[in-house]
């Protein structure tokens, strides 16, 4: 047991001292090459790895991601702003009047590709295979152009105006990747 020093400073200090050690999972590794360049002489470049879990709430738009898992595409529409269009991505509140909007099922029967780009060098954490054709989706009556991807494509696809239909993941990840599109033809 460690003895406490008296507040007056005259206490007896134990000769037995506790050790402070560095935990074994922080093994030191110095880099000698990065970006295919050597580290200059005399410069220390220490690897600083990490693995962190965040817990992210979808809050009031949780229904949208729940809908993807159940095979339904939900948008929102403002009851007080007339025919201003359906929001997809949905929002809880209307940005024009700040009233809460209502949920509506999206009719995708007329959905087409508004624009597209096939990515070859995605950033870290991208979960799909490459090349992956990313698209923006145009749907009549929707005031926005949802970003998404084609999960199946042939030569010359996607193209602007391509008729598409939604596909919902059988193994939901509860991310926007649960929704993809394929040709309607």
């Amino acid at each position: 047991m460690l003895q406490l020093l008296s507040w007056k400073g005259g206490g007896v200090v134990s000769k037995q001292r506790q050790q402070v050690t560095i935990s074994a999972d922080s093994k030191t590794k110095l880099a000698d090459v990065l970006f295919r360049q050597n580290i200059p002489q005399g410069i220390i470049l220490r690897e600083n790895p990490r693995n962190i879990t965040h817990f992210h709430s979808y809050g009031g738009i949780s229904k949208f991601f729940d809908g993807l898992a159940a095979g339904t595409l939900w948008g929102t529409v403002c009851g007080s702003c007339g025919n201003a269009g359906i929001w997809l991505p949905p929002r809880v509140h209307c940005p024009d009047c700040w009233q809460e909007m209502s949920w509506v099922k999206i009719d995708t029967s007329q959905a087409t590709v508004y624009t597209h780009s096939t990515t070859n060098y995605p950033g870290a954490g991208f979960k799909a295979t490459v090349p992956c054709p990313l698209i923006s989706v145009e749907i009549p009556g929707i005031c926005t152009k949802l970003m998404s991807y084609l999960s199946e494509f042939g030569d010359g696809e996607p193209y602007i105006g391509m008729p598409i239909r939604p596909v919902f993941s059988q193994n939901p990840t509860y991310t926007i990747l649960d929704l993809s599109w394929v040709s309607r033809d």
Binding site: L34, P89, T119, I176
Partner: protein, 455 residues
């Protein structure tokens, strides 16, 4: 749809004149292990003070009363409150300071914050210091970090890559307006070329149109030379009120126009609306327009910022009334879009700004003579400050002093190229810099003008 009330379109007014009196840069590199961010920031400000103002850091510091810091991403630098570290490193404690964050437009917004500090009377001498450290992670992780500045619920997961978000706009732009594909590559060609004459530049080079078109495709149709790169470095400018400015220099540069605009972080959410007209545009210009606006081909934020800045600076014909321009050419396509948003050409005709030769040295409005983001740098927090530094030197007739002098090439371990070109615009009086974030989430337009009367 978005509609404007009178308050929304109020033109900004400074309560008293604001001047820019000095600028300094480091060089920019993909990987800069030799120096920490503190060292880079100090070196850029030291250059502004010693080479620009010609006074000692000790004398300069006695006059400073507030500082603005500009860094885009805490997760790149992996240091919260990094500004406090830099402020301390520069020996400015206990002066007040703020750190500004508006994505790619952080530099422009930081200068705007400095301008506000001076114009309000809160401060009389304000250094604005920007930097970014993008080399602590590999390029794939860096792209993911940048894409954290997209909507994490609906867009980031779709590529973790900003080049894709711009490529979506590019595909749509080509569909709506059908420009020559080659014209887009000429923007990259021009800026990589001008970067050859900058000792600060990261990606100088002479490319043929064919080489750019045949380079690897990042996200189609964008190829590698058409995209900006990860970058490390710092830039500083010094702002002052009138009395302090003329005490420090006989040739201060005046801030005559400022504008700041915004639009949805998600490109998806850009609703159709009538075109906001600039002073040089008449309503009939777009009366037969079929395409949506701003759609995926225009930046409402850029148009809004230009609207305010032009009205504030009394500019009615930007190509004629500006002498030099720096745009945020993160991608070739965004540059064409911006030419239209800031009224250099009507919507759909941006390519002509390149094809006509207007954008080149010797043209009517030389653009990105600095090498821009494609050729010179995009150390994000430093970018808007770098742009204004280059405009500042052009207006003062100091382009050669800070680009042609072997001292600067040597400082960064480089040799000046033999076939060096002089990029000083003769008699440049007025210039503008456009600082731009996200897929157009924030844009600032800042107009500088000769602040002294010519003899």
């Amino acid at each position: 749809m978005i509609s404007f009330g009178n308050g929304n379109l109020r033109v900004p007014k400074l309560s008293r004149p604001v001047y820019m009196v000095a600028a300094g840069l480091t060089d920019f590199r993909k990987f800069y292990p030799e120096k920490q961010s503190t060292e880079l920031c100090l070196e850029s400000l030291k250059m502004a003070v010693e080479d620009g103002l010609g006074i000692s850091p000790r004398d300069f510091k006695k006059m400073v009363n507030f500082c603005v810091y500009s860094q885009f991403a805490d997760h790149f630098g992996d240091q919260l409150l990094a500004a406090a570290k830099i402020h301390d490193y520069l020996g400015f404690d206990p002066l007040g300071n703020i750190e500004v964050k508006t994505g790619g437009a952080t530099g422009g917004s930081s200068v705007l914050a400095g301008v506000m500090a001076i114009a309000s009377g809160y401060a009389s001498l304000v250094p604005v210091i920007g930097w970014e450290r993008m080399d602590e992670v590999n390029t794939r992780q860096g792209n993911a970090y940048i894409a954290s500045a997209a909507c994490k619920d609906f867009e980031s997961e779709l590529g973790w890559l900003y080049a894709t978000y711009y490529a979506l706009m590019m595909r749509r732009y080509i569909h709506e307006y059908n420009p020559n594909r080659e014209t887009l590559t000429k923007i990259a060609q021009k800026n990589h070329h001008y970067a050859r004459f900058s000792p600060y530049s990261q990606l100088p080079g002479d490319y043929t149109v064919d080489e750019i078109l045949k380079s690897a495709v990042v996200s189609d149709p964008l190829t590698f030379p058409e995209c900006c790169a990860m970058s490390v470095g710092a830039a500083s400018i010094v702002l002052a009120d009138e009395e302090t400015a003329f005490r420090l220099t006989d040739h201060p540069v005046s801030v005559v126009g400022t504008g700041s605009g915004s639009h949805t972080l998600r490109t998806a959410d850009r609703r159709n609306m009538p075109v906001l007209l600039l002073p040089n545009e008449r309503p009939q210009l777009y009366q037969d327009r079929k395409n949506e606006w701003p759609g995926f081909t225009s930046f409402l934020a850029a148009r809004f910022a230009a609207y305010l800045a032009y009205n504030m600076a009394d500019i009615t014909d930007p190509v004629k009334e500006l002498d030099v321009l720096e745009t945020h050419d993160a991608f070739t396509v965004s540059d064409i879009q911006t030419y239209e948003d800031i009224g250099l050409r009507p919507y759909g005709e941006g390519a002509d700004f390149i094809e006509s030769g207007d954008a080149f040295i010797g043209g009517r409005l030389p653009t990105n003579l600095s090498g821009g983001l494609l050729g010179s740098m995009h150390s994000v927090g430093a970018t808007g400050i770098f742009q204004l530094s280059e405009i500042f030197w052009q207006i003062r007739g100091e382009w050669n002093k800070f680009h042609a002098d072997d001292k600067y090439w040597g400082r960064f371990g480089k040799t000046k190229p033999n076939n060096f070109e002089n990029l000083q615009v003769s008699n440049a009086r007025r210039g503008m810099a456009i600082s731009h974030a996200g897929t157009g989430s924030h844009v600032t337009a800042i107009i500088l003008e000769r602040g002294w009367s010519s003899e």
